[in-house]
Point group: C2
Chain length 382, copies 2
C-alpha cells in the first residue's frame, strides 16, 4: 500500500464534492439546464477574479488562454514588453513572436522578481510599446512579480498590462479592477481545485478596445465571439460540461470560505513551508519575493534533485515538482495552493525530511515539521 499525495503547483488536489459533481451524468450543452449551470459559474468567476467584467471560460489549458490574449489584443509588428524571469515568462515571448509581434525582452534572474523601475525605463525608451506581458506568480521560480506597480505604468498610455495569473488568481490578492489589470488569465488545475482542461480570461474595457484593432489570425480563441456567447449563457464551441459542473461546485467552496480566508490560508501554508525549509538548513529559490502558490527549494549539494523528487513520488507517494530548464535537478517545489491545508504541508515537510535522511543528508527529523506546526497553529481557533 502506498497512498498518493499531490503537492505540485498544478494539477492540485480536487475536493471530494467537486469530484462528485463531475461524476454526475453529462448534460447536453445546448439546453436550458446547462445554461443555468454556466450562468451561475460565470457569475462566481467574477467574484474570484475580483472584477465586474465578463470572465470567459475556454476549453483549453492555460497556455490556450495566453495565446488567446496575444492574438485578440495585438497585431503582427506590435511592440510588447515581456517579463522573462522563468519558464512562463518565456512563454509569453514565444507566443508573441509566433504571431510576429516585436518583443522587448526583460530578462530577470530565475528566483527574483522584476524591478518595476527597469520596466519603466524600457517603456520610456520605447514609446510604441502596446503591452506588458508578465506573470503574477511565476510558477517555475516560485516568485511573485509586482503586478500592481507594473499595472500603474500602463495608465494614461496606449498600453495594456496582460497578466498570467494562472497560479495567482484565487491564491493571492490580485484585484483585477482595483489594480487596473487589463487582461487576467488563469487555469482550472490551480487554485480552482479542478482537473486540467479549462482556462479563464477576463478583459478590461480598455483591453476590449484593443481587440477591435487586433489583426492576428484566430479562430478557436476568438474572444469577441466568446463574449457574445457568454451573454447568452453558452460558449461558441462545445464546452467541457463536466469540468464546468465541477467548477461551479469549486467556486461555491471558495465563496463559502471567503476570498480573504483563502488568501490567508495560502499565505500561512507558504510561510510555514518556507520557515520549515530554512529550519532544515535548506536554501530557498526565491527568498525575497516568494509566491504563496509554491516554494522552491535548492536540493543540498551532492544530492541529485531528479532522483530526490522521483524517490519522493515513487517510493513515498508524495508528488512535489522538480526544477525546469537550468534548474532541473537542482530544486524541488512544494505547492500550497488550492485544496491544500495544514496536514498536507505537514506531510510534504515530513516527507522531505525523511527523503533527505534516506539520501544521506544530515537532518534532524521533526525539526522542519515542528517549525511549521508553530505557524500552522495560527490557523486554528484558540
Amino acid at each position: 500500500m502506498r497512498k498518493k499525495y499531490l503537492l505540485a503547483p498544478g494539477p492540485t488536489p480536487v475536493p471530494e464534492s467537486v469530484l462528485l459533481a463531475m461524476a454526475q451524468p453529462v448534460v447536453h450543452h445546448r439546453t436550458p439546464q446547462f445554461s443555468e449551470v454556466f450562468k451561475e459559474t460565470a457569475e462566481l468567476l467574477k467574484y474570484v477574479f475580483q472584477t465586474k467584467e465578463d470572465v470567459l471560460i475556454l476549453a483549453s489549458s492555460g497556455t490556450g488562454a495566453m495565446e488567446g490574449a496575444v492574438v485578440n489584443l495585438f497585431s503582427p509588428g506590435d511592440e510588447v514588453i515581456v517579463i522573462n524571469g522563468g519558464k512562463f515568462g518565456e512563454r509569453w515571448g514565444k507566443i508573441s513572436e509566433s504571431y510576429g509581434l516585436k518583443v522587448h525582452w526583460i530578462n530577470v534572474e530565475w528566483g527574483r522578481a522584476v524591478d518595476p523601475e527597469t520596466v519603466k525605463d524600457v517603456l520610456a525608451k520605447n514609446q510604441n510599446v502596446r503591452g506588458i506581458l508578465c506573470q503574477a506568480s511565476e510558477t517555475s521560480t516560485t516568485v511573485l512579480h509586482p503586478v500592481k506597480e507594473l499595472a500603474e505604468l500602463t495608465r494614461e498610455r496606449d498600453c495594456i498590462i496582460v497578466v498570467d495569473g494562472i497560479t495567482a488568481v484565487g491564491v493571492v490578492d490580485i484585484p483585477m479592477d482595483r489594480w487596473g489589470i487589463d487582461v487576467l488569465v488563469s487555469g482550472s488545475q490551480k487554485a480552482f481545485m479542478l482537473p486540467p482542461g479549462l482556462a479563464f480570461i477576463s478583459l478590461s474595457e480598455k483591453a476590449w478596445r484593443f481587440c477591435d484593432d487586433a489583426r492576428c489570425p484566430k479562430f478557436y480563441f476568438d474572444l469577441k465571439k466568446e463574449r457574445k456567447n457568454l451573454a447568452r449563457h453558452t460558449t461558441a464551441y462545445t464546452p467541457a460540461v463536466s469540468l464546468i459542473t465541477g467548477l461551479r461546485e469549486a467556486l461555491a467552496l471558495i465563496k463559502e470560505e471567503g476570498l480573504e480566508n483563502v488568501f490567508a490560508r495560502h499565505a500561512r501554508l507558504a510561510r510555514a513551508t518556507r520557515e520549515a525549509m530554512k529550519a532544515l538548513g535548506l536554501k530557498l529559490l526565491a527568498p525575497e519575493n516568494p509566491s504563496p502558490a509554491a516554494t522552491g527549494v535548492y536540493v543540498p549539494d551532492g544530492i541529485d534533485g531528479g532522483k530526490f523528487v522521483k524517490y519522493l513520488r515513487d517510493d513515498m507517494g508524495v508528488t512535489l515538482a522538480g526544477g525546469q530548464d537550468h534548474l532541473k535537478g537542482r530544486i524541488f517545489r512544494i505547492a500550497h495552493l488550492g485544496y491544500i491545508d495544514t496536514f498536507d504541508i505537514i506531510i510534504a515537510i515530513s516527507a522531505v525530511e525523511m527523503a533527505l535522511k534516506r539520501f544521506g543528508h544530515k537532518v534532524e527529523l521533526g525539526r522542519g515539521v515542528g517549525t511549521a506546526q508553530e505557524i500552522l497553529l495560527e490557523g486554528f481557533e484558540t
Copy 2:
C-alpha cells in the same frame, strides 16, 4: 476549509477504488452476476481469516455476529468463561446472559491482557465450561489478548474458543486453523477497509458440531442456514450488495499487498505511534500488550479528554477516539489499522502535538513526529 481525517479504530478510511466499486449500479442479489461476486468474495475472505473453513457474510454490525456465535453454539444453562477486560469483553458476557448462559466472568484490569494461567485455573475448577469467549484485540483498551495460549486450553476438551477478532483479523497474525480457533468473528469497518454494515464469522469443524446441540432461539443469525446458502453462493436473507461488491475489491487489495506485509505495516505504524507518544512524555494505556489496531494514550493531567478529542475532531479535522466507561475523558485512541499509512500517522501525531500546545501543555512541537519518522522510514526502500 478543513479537511477531515479518520483515525478512529473503526470505521476506518475506505480506499478510493473500494468507494468506486461500491458506487457501481446495484445488481440484483438473486442473479448469476451477483453470485459470481459473492463466490469470489467468500474465497478471498478465507485467505484473510487464514482458514479452509467457510467464512459467512452477515448483513449486520460485528455485534450481530457475536450474538450469532452465542446463539448457534450454546444452549440456555451452558457454562462459558468470558474474558472481561474492556467494553467488548463485557459484551460477550451480556449477550451470553441475555440467552440464559451461565457466565464465569474473568475480570481483567482495563489496559492489561488476561493471564492464560488464570483462565486455566477457572477451567480446572469448572469442568462443565463449554466455551471461552474473548477478544483478540480489545478495542476499548487497545490490548492484545493471548489468543494462541487460550486456544490451547480448549484442546482435548469439550470446550471451544470463541474469538472476537473484530480489530484483529487482517490487522495482526491470528491464523484461525493453525491456532485451532473454533469461532472467529470480524466486521467490515476495520481492517477490511469498508464502511460498517457487514460482519464475518467462521467456525471450525468442532464448532459446527456444537451447533447441532445448541438450543438458543434464533432466526436471522441462523449460521447453519447461512452455511447452506453459502454453498450455493448466496445468503439466506438479502445481502448488502454494494458493501459486498466493495469487499471484493478491498480483499483484492489486501491479497495484493500480502497479509505478511499488511501485518508488518500495522506493526510499524503502531510502534511509531507508541514511541512518539512516549517521546512526548505521555503515558500509554496498554504498555505491555499493545494491540497493533490502536494505541490508547492517557490525556495529561489537567486536560479534559473529552474536550481534547472534540477539539481535534471539530477544530483540526482529525477524528481520534476517546475513552469509554470509566476511561471516558481520560484517554484518546489513535487507530492504525486498515487503509492507514505513514503520513496518516504523521498527521495524527502532529495534530496531537498541536492540540496539546493549544491546551496549554508543555510540548516540543515536532518531537513526537521526529520519533515516529525514524521508525516509519523502515517502511521505505533504502
